[in-house]
Symmetry: C2
Subunit: 202 residues, 2 copies
C-alpha cells in the first residue's frame, strides 16, 4: 500500500531534493502546505518558475540580476566606489556583505572555488573575466573575500600570485575571533590566527 | 538600493513563509536553486500546484487522499482490521504510524485539537463525523493517539468522556522513556510516567 497519495508524495520528494531538507522536514512542509492557504503554495510555485526565467548574471560582476538589465544594480550605481573590488565565491556572499552596510565598492563573483578534488580549475571560474575587467577598470584595491576554507584559501593564493604583477593593493579578510564569540570555544586555528593578527590598541 | 533582484527576493520571501524556514535558510535554498538544474525548481513548482488541485480529504477518515478517490487507500483496503480505530490530530500522524508498520486498523483524523486559547472547540474538529462513524461501523477499540501535550491530552480526555457510554474499549498510547533514550536526560514528567506505567517482566 502506498502510504501517501501520489501528489503528496511528489511534493515530499521535491522538497527532499533541496539541500539541508531531510525526509522529515519535507513531510512537515508538505503537510503544512496541505493545511495552509492555497496562496502560500501558489506564490512559492510562481516564484520558483520566475527564478530561472527572470534572472541572469550581470555582464560585469556575474552577480545575479533581473533578466534584461545586463548590469546589476551595484555595477550600475553611481554611488559605489569604483576603485575597490571585492572578489567572492558566490552571489550569496554579495548578499551577506551588502547586508553589513560596511562596504561600498564593486564585486566580482567567481561562481565557485578552485578545487582539484572536484576537478574545478581556474578556467571553470570567472577568473579570465576578472583579468579582462582589470584591464579596463581602474581598480586600486582587490579584496580577496573567498571563504577561509581550504579551497577558498587556495583560490585566494592563486589569485594573489596571478594578480601581483599588476599595480594594485591586494588584501584578504581578517581572521580571528567572531564578535560575541567565546575564546574558550574557538578552535585552535582560529585562536592562533587571532593571536597572529592581534592589533595595537590606540 | 535593493540588494536582491525582485524575482530572487520573491522566492526568498516565499520560502521564508514556510514554518521553520528562517531568512538565512530561505536565501540558501534560493541561491541553491539559482545554481541548480532548472528541473529541480520546476518539479517543486509543479508539485506545489498539484498539492491543492489533486488532493482532498477522505470522506470517511479525513486523511489526505487523491482527488476523485473519495476514500483513502486505508479505508478502501480489504486487508485492514475494521474493528479498531486510531484517532489522530493530523494526517502527518497517520504517516508516522503507518511507517512503523505495527498498526493495521483504521484511522480518524481530527484535523486539530481542542484549544480554548486559540478558540478551537470540539465543533471545529471532525468529532461530529466520528460519532456518525461509530453509529455505522462496528468498532471494538478506539485508540486515542492525540499528542501527549496539554491540548492533545485534553482532547483525549474530552473524547474519552463522550465515548464512554458506547460499548467500546478506549485506550491511550503508552507514555514512557523513548527507545534508545537516556534516563538521565528524560524530563521529570516522562520519568514519572515511565515509573507509573512500569510493567512486569514475564
Amino acid at each position: 500500500m502506498r502510504v501517501l497519495p501520489e501528489p503528496v508524495q511528489k511534493l515530499v520528494d521535491a522538497f527532499a531534493r533541496l539541500p539541508g531538507v531531510g525526509p522529515k522536514t519535507a513531510s512537515r512542509l508538505t503537510f503544512y502546505l496541505l493545511r495552509a492557504d492555497e496562496d502560500i503554495s501558489k506564490s512559492l510555485a510562481d516564484a520558483l518558475i520566475g527564478i530561472k526565467q527572470e534572472t541572469e548574471l550581470c555582464e560585469i560582476c556575474f552577480n545575479i540580476t533581473r533578466k534584461g538589465d545586463k548590469m546589476c544594480e551595484i555595477c550600475a550605481s553611481e554611488a559605489r566606489d569604483r576603485d575597490i573590488l571585492c572578489i567572492v565565491e558566490e552571489p550569496l556572499d554579495v548578499l551577506a556583505i551588502e547586508k553589513t552596510g560596511g562596504y561600498n565598492g564593486l564585486y566580482h563573483v567567481l561562481h565557485g572555488v578552485i578545487s582539484p578534488i572536484e576537478g574545478i580549475g581556474p578556467e571553470d571560474l570567472k577568473i579570465k573575466d576578472l583579468y579582462e575587467r582589470l584591464k579596463k577598470e581602474k581598480i586600486n584595491e582587490i579584496i580577496l573575500a573567498t571563504n577561509p576554507s581550504m579551497e577558498g584559501d587556495a583560490t585566494a593564493m592563486y589569485l594573489h600570485e596571478r594578480l601581483s604583477p599588476i599595480d594594485v593593493r591586494i588584501t584578504r579578510l581578517a581572521l580571528g575571533l567572531p564578535v560575541g564569540g567565546d575564546l574558550e570555544y574557538a578552535d585552535q586555528n582560529t585562536l592562533l590566527r587571532a593571536f597572529a593578527g592581534r592589533r595595537d590598541l590606540d
